[in-house]
Symmetry: D2
Subunit: 358 residues, 4 copies
């Protein structure tokens, strides 16, 4: 028996009634739920199979137009614990977006921060504040808050990719602004490299025209070629006995804003991980939510003790404080994004690495 | 008609059904709600009258025990727009807490950041990580995340005050941790000044034993005496023709962490405002939510064009982007807290000062 | 024999001659001096006795006018190792300044950062950017770079104090700018507290009119009353068994910029230390130079193993990496300033605490 | 006549004599020199011709051994205004270093920060904390403070390059430490890319094994290939009408620490500038001293109104506040280094851009 709860009585009921009438709600009846001993997310660990997602995106391509109003043919992954909302976690949005041959998604801008990651395909350019950015397999592409952006497909083939945004966080906390731009994209050029890349993608070199730090990264596209090379070098260095990898057999990079060395956007962290075949990571718990997409290889994720096998394109979410580990059957490449900058900037970040011995 | 929405058809319904089965939810049917042109909070502007709150707190004192389990006799202000949850806004919690004669609220700690503000009364000490802190009228008192704290009333009189926390934000984003401490407070001493104050409350002087910056302020109590003096000086300087006030006739201070000059806690900003009689502030809109409590004087707040008169103890909330202004009938003293550090650290802050001419 | 030095020869002499003609100078002949194994300052540890300084300042008051051109009746302490230059160390200037009854030192400003510390006397106001600042015993007063300032003595008595500046550093590195202001001070008012103090000297409270961080502290005067109270509280807390002092029996505060919690000016750190009677500090070596002035009490400093007794007003300098310790015969109060911000900001700071056992 | 200077008298002479005896020196006799209206450096603007430097370095190669004791066959450029000291400015050291066929310069480390820039040649590896770093034309190579380093020449040809350090600043301010390492280099491997490059030279990608910011850049070599490409892209973007260059026809990059986006070392800034043929820069004055070396092309520098023609390899120094401008006859490539981080971190930086019309 909880000694601190009041005994039921007519007076108590009258009091509770008066609370309701006056828009009040006592702490003592709900503290256990509101303030748990550790995070107990409503969101659940879940895997979406690319083999399911892609055909549904294709069908949308046939049935759903893309244009002003709907804005994007994007299908949000709805965490089964969150009541049907298109939230992959309380903070993050993840969608598969599909653009048919020769289609254009019109320009708009919003306070929400967005990125795209391309697990397969090519042929679309996203135009960010007038700078056309090619989208190709393995590329990580940024649309930080309040930058105009639209997409167009120059080919005869459709293309799909994933979008990541902070829509749930923005919606929940009432921070969103939105504005329409051009109904077309403002520049249909299809250069191999965007202007942002040409100015900023020279390692350790900063243009003198860009000495002011920017809130988000000025790099519009982080190319697969660089990511792959960075991971390859880490594993080679490890073989040479040098400190380079994140953990034994586990190479990883974080995408960063070159003006600060910090995260690419104020609310979203993005990384790429590569595990050697046979590697099993330690089991971790972290405050905040994380999403992975398998880029290449076979393996599994263990979340809350439950093992799920994974293949190329599969997407999974790890809610706050859920224990998780990865297992690589083959060399295993995964893209990752999370709300870690929110947790770190507000000092809520915590990590627990659990003993891996059974 | 919105050209971008698909035409209804059997195939479309089948697609939508497949979406639901696969835990998917399309953007195009919900973008207008999810990504509004400016923040459209569900939370509403609302005033709670102290004349209503205090008697209900008193009744709770008679009917509801305080102790382990319920932890606190705190009655949360529930924003009428948020479905009965004890959230004054999507990010903030505000409650009236009531401690009867000789009562003790047991020690615990939590990741959530907390403060107290005392609009009237005295006789309670809050013990924060073993440091007893006197609570008196006008004092602003801190319990930053993960500090053990309990309260005890040394007198024959009850005492009430307001608590402010980031409970809704923490709950929504799954960042909370909670731990019980002593069932009593660990130190029943009743010093006039806490150890934190004795070490840190010397203007411009930093102890050499405290050179590492702390995430939250090491000051446990910001005394009314200092606040009142600071505001008085600003108005005197204004009379002497010197720049000192926030706006004409409007003195204001922010409570800060002396190790950094920044906000007292990572998620909560606190300020005190004093308006000369007759002053009307400009109408502002701000991203993020704000709560005021009237400390002294008479006046009014205009929110969304609606004018509400205010008296000592009255509490009101201004949700994100709601236009608001204050009017002072007499000298008008108000305590304010908000989630501004969240908005600023994540780069969502925006302010719009509207034309004040009718 | 140093194997790396070339053998003397006609060709070598010709080469060295060609070096000189072409404004060249080889490293190999001078590396031992230029790049020693640890700092080997030319500046030496030295004590100036107040009993010598004050009478000479008085005589200057009789023989030397104060006014435009000479600007200040300030007598610089010239480190015996630095060839007669008025440099107490390679970075710092320390002077005794003397202002006779009813005299005015005219206004000027300079890029060099300056402060004053008052070991005895009163009656002078320094006017900093138009803000009159009373000078009294124990006060620490700021004139950060590029602020206009002049001094005037309102009484029938002369007054002396010490000035500290970064003149040697500024001169050596060619960073100085200088500009004349009014030939008089711009405000002869004699308020008890300056406007800067009235706006900023409220612990933990920041005016909303002053939310932008400033390079140097906006506080013009750090009053003795606060300093004394802060030190007293530290020693009382220590007696109560609480962590508060810098070391056992050794209370200390740093004067800080309230907008950042950091040093008062970009090049100069200032602190105040109080030792209980009988306390001997550990022996330390630090990169950078430090100056102390005894404020009250009797004791000694041991520098390079040499012990010098100290009395009120005595000033001593500790050059870089010279081992030093303090000994308190009575309660021993010392004001300290140093170039530590230079060392820390440029990452040259190092400290070595030596074993104190003989 | 300066009214503020005292009249000569026997008493005054006695006073001045007493000053000297007591190690004192008055401000009023020297203020004009010590505190000038703007920086009046003793260092002078000067050009060293590569055609003079290189042959003297060659001769040193014949006459002067390299090894422990002398440490380096480095010939410092001695500013003609600085009395023969091997200081190119009050803060900076610049030397030509020469390493003969098969020679090794032994390992040591020092608190002083160092870099090398290669205007021609190849075949030497510098080994920094055990990491062998190839040195080739156009490369900018780092040896931040307190890293062990040695050099070895693997070829049958000598090689020369320039060294830049903060030796004068370190010497003047007594911050230097020095320690011998191996008499040989610790790793004679000759990889094309150092481990630091392999880990860090992937634009916008940060290894997860390197999330802690470092005081100095972890990149040991900034390769010419990247620098050239970055400058080429800036000029191409300019031709396309895009903002990219520093000024019209003037491309420039700053070498940065990828962990922070800031300068490569705490005391030294390094940049590379490319001017289109025919471009003349605005005339600038800056606080702090700067050194340029011509990498390619023909042109001139105008310093203090005096024009000096420049060719490949020529080195010139611009002391503090000296007005300067560059003129490009051909495409004109220049490496630049300066003490700007010192000036900025200590808030002494100022720039004046003068009207360029005659």
């Amino acid at each position: 028996m909880d000694m601190s709860q009041p005994e039921d009585s007519a007076e108590l009921r009258a009091l509770y009634q008066a609370f309701r009438q006056n828009h009040l709600n006592p702490l003592w009846t709900q503290i256990g739920d509101l303030m748990p001993v550790h995070p107990k997310p409503k969101a659940v660990a879940h895997v979406w199979k690319w083999a399911d997602l892609y055909p549904l995106a294709q069908q949308s391509g046939e049935l759903v137009p893309v244009g002003r109003g709907g804005e994007r043919r994007a299908i949000g992954l709805a965490n089964p614990g969150l009541g049907g909302e298109a939230y992959i976690s309380p903070t993050l949005w993840c969608a598969i977006q599909y653009l048919g041959a020769k289609e254009t998604a019109p320009e708009h801008r919003h306070a929400q921060n967005a990125f795209r990651f391309v697990v397969e395909g090519e042929g679309v350019w996203t135009v960010v504040n007038g700078d056309p950015v090619r989208m190709s397999r393995g590329d990580f592409l940024l649309t930080p808050g309040w930058n105009f952006h639209g997409h167009h497909n120059e080919t005869d083939q459709p293309m799909a990719w994933i979008d990541g945004l902070d829509i749930p966080f923005s919606y929940q906390n009432d921070v969103g602004f939105f504005e329409y731009g051009s109904d077309r994209v403002t520049d249909y050029a299809t250069p191999e490299f965007s202007r942002g890349e040409r100015l900023w993608c020279h390692p350790g070199l900063r243009p003198l025209s860009g000495l002011e730090n920017s809130v988000s990264s000025p790099i519009g596209a982080y190319r697969w070629d660089y990511t792959d090379r960075a991971l390859t070098e880490q594993l080679l260095l490890e073989e040479e006995g040098q400190p380079a990898t994140y953990a034994q057999g586990h190479a990883a990079i974080r995408y960063v804003n070159p003006t600060t060395g910090g995260d690419v956007m104020p609310t979203i962290r993005a990384e790429f991980h590569r595990l050697r075949a046979g590697v099993e990571t330690a089991t971790r718990r972290e405050v905040g939510s994380t999403v992975f997409q398998v880029f290449e290889g076979h393996g599994a994720v263990v979340m809350n003790g439950e093992r799920k096998t994974l293949e190329k394109g599969d997407i999974f979410v790890i809610p706050s404080w859920v224990p998780w580990a990865l297992e690589a059957e083959t060399q295993f490449d995964l893209f990752r994004f999370s709300d870690a900058p929110i947790m770190e900037r507000l000092n809520f970040a915590r990590t627990l690495i659990e003993d891996t011995a059974a």
